[in-house]
Symmetry: C2
Subunit: 369 residues, 2 copies
């Protein structure tokens, strides 16, 4: 098969952008080279010669010799504008911005179709784990029953440290921030929003469900206190922030992000630090489990690299499951075992009831982003 | 993308063949139907109407309306003849026969090229785990350093039972045979040959190395006695039959199949029963881990189904790494920590020395298949 030659315009030269540049230097067999890099800050010492950089996005977007855009910036709104224009100009796009994809999923789908160009985003879910590609390609005809996973590396790192070092959640968060594993404003991670965006993307590729972020319930780990951590320790459990989706008996999809007590028999128990892990349950292949680094410059740029390579073979997501007509289940239908920190007992409540209790008892700042 | 309509000729109607038939009945969206099934035994009660069956392979191979052959028989030599003829007739082929693929790898590669037809065999390695597809597609540019895994479900089941039930290897084997998890002649599995064939296939897709089964050293679990099992128990280890391949400093590939003491920190520790697990270590994506059922009708037919589905999209292996020029390392270069059952201590020996000792001390029937 003839491989396409890619001339890349890169947006963003942070950790992942730099990682990608290095990775491309080490894989000369790949027919892809970075022509130009658009960055925001003008007066900054950079590891590459100035000739590579521009501060004007149109220098890249209007350059007809550039056929591929790799978008690796933080700002989801600015990212969407870049990606949208790129697709409209007929340029293939690779992005790692889960918030941007989740918030504009339907429009991005439409743009891909309208302008007949591919948009790939494997790095947006679980960094190095090829979860989107496998859901899309490998499990395309298997009858998926559920996916459940640890999909956020920062919160998993924090939760791991509370156990390893026997420290409070807030201290672990502080340490993670000092080490650069968590943002200065960590609510996107610890509030479960990042995990929710990823889950929303996975829903489309696993079950063919397109929805909005606000339709998926998320509760973060920022309301965990010593009481829960000690309870977990006493029982030999670990607390993990888990993204979950399953098909109910009517074929509707239940999905949420919640902290969960995980026993040592659960495969997620041993997924620690910045690792992510995703369990897939299906009718035919039964139980599958993928583990890999969910954060970091190299693991993320490795996924971006795989997408770039796939573009040289004209690969695109076919969104094969979008016609299967699944929809999200009404929240009333969801039953969970809940742990209350004031009176530690387990009981079964409908989520609606649970939400009412939550609203009255636990700070709802996680819901406010 | 327009999907190809597949008309399938199926060889073999054992567990996996039956599983595939059921699986296809449950996935009507897939444009694939079984036209005819070739079986060996004439007078056997079967779950399908007689009109589906033939006892003459040419009824299928010479049928021009059949564009796809799915080969699921036991006999590797007969399987090769079927696959060879099918490819020569321009029919796409899906097979699960690792022994056949391993023994004829180079010829099968040549036939695919010469007749411009795809041959897919995801089910041949680790059944439900999409390991070949991921090595081929997703890690196509990452710099792989090693793969290590439990790739044989039967031996893993046996080893798990020795621990769970605290029974001897021979008793666990007997039980596995009674339950249908191990063959009446189990040497293919317990001698590490099945694992070796799989490793040989993985070598091509991971590192681009084509070799012969006799060039990979394998030692099975059939020489394990209570002494080793008790030693593992005492130390909190598990014994796992591990297939291993890594790149050494000169870029040469070291590979072997051996029973290994695995500590609880190793991800393979918790891969029990008929599950398989494969660890991938690479420069960019770091540590990746895949787990899934490595045996059974449904998990295997699920992988066959994925290959069938991929054929409807004109997918084929590109064997992208065959030009990377890696070769197998000389056995002299391999260093291992060895456990001796007579005097339990660990020491480092070159494999050559190890083999000499093995030849003198341990029954070599595993080498004789």
């Amino acid at each position: 098969m003839n491989r396409k030659q890619l001339t890349i315009g890169l947006f963003g030269f942070g950790c992942i952008g730099k990682g990608l540049y290095e990775v491309l230097q080490k894989t000369p067999a790949l027919k892809a080279s970075i022509k130009s890099i658009c960055v925001k800050t003008k007066n900054k010492q950079r590891s590459l010669s100035n000739q590579y950089f521009t501060f004007e996005k149109n220098d890249i977007l209007q350059d007809d010799t550039i056929n591929t855009i790799v978008e690796l910036i933080d700002d989801a709104d600015a990212a969407f504008e870049i990606v949208k224009t790129a697709l409209q100009k007929g340029k293939a796009v690779v992005t790692a911005n889960k918030k941007m994809i989740a918030e504009h999923f339907e429009e991005l789908l439409h743009l891909q179709k309208q302008y007949n160009v591919p948009l790939l985003y494997e790095a947006a879910c679980c960094a190095s784990i090829p979860i989107i590609r496998n859901l899309e390609e490998y499990y395309d005809n298997d009858l998926l029953e559920s996916i459940e996973g640890i999909v956020n590396g920062s919160t998993n790192y924090i939760l791991t440290k509370t156990v390893e070092k026997n420290i409070s959640f807030s201290l672990a968060l502080k340490e993670a921030q000092q080490k650069g594993f968590a943002e200065t404003n960590p609510l996107l991670d610890v509030g479960g929003f990042d995990a929710k965006y990823k889950l929303q993307i996975l829903l489309a590729h696993a079950f063919g469900v397109i929805t909005q972020p606000q339709n998926i319930f998320n509760l973060g780990i920022n309301n965990l206190y010593d009481f829960e951590l000690n309870y977990a320790k006493e029982k030999g459990y670990k607390i993990k922030l888990v993204a979950y989706a399953s098909k109910n008996e009517e074929g509707k999809i239940i999905s949420f992000v919640l902290p969960k007590f995980v026993t040592s028999k659960d495969k997620l128990f041993s997924v620690d630090d910045v690792f992510n892990g995703v369990k897939i349950q299906s009718y035919f292949c039964d139980n599958q489990f993928f583990v890999g680094k969910g954060a970091g410059a190299y693991p993320t740029s490795s996924a971006v690299l795989s997408d770039i390579s796939a573009l040289t073979y004209d690969y695109r997501y076919e969104y094969k499951k979008l016609n299967t007509q699944h929809s999200l289940a009404n929240e009333e239908d969801i039953f969970l075992k809940i742990f209350f920190c004031v009176f530690p007992y387990q009981l079964i409540l409908s989520l609606n009831h649970f939400l009412k209790i939550l609203k009255n008892t636990i700070s709802m700042k996680t819901m406010a982003l």
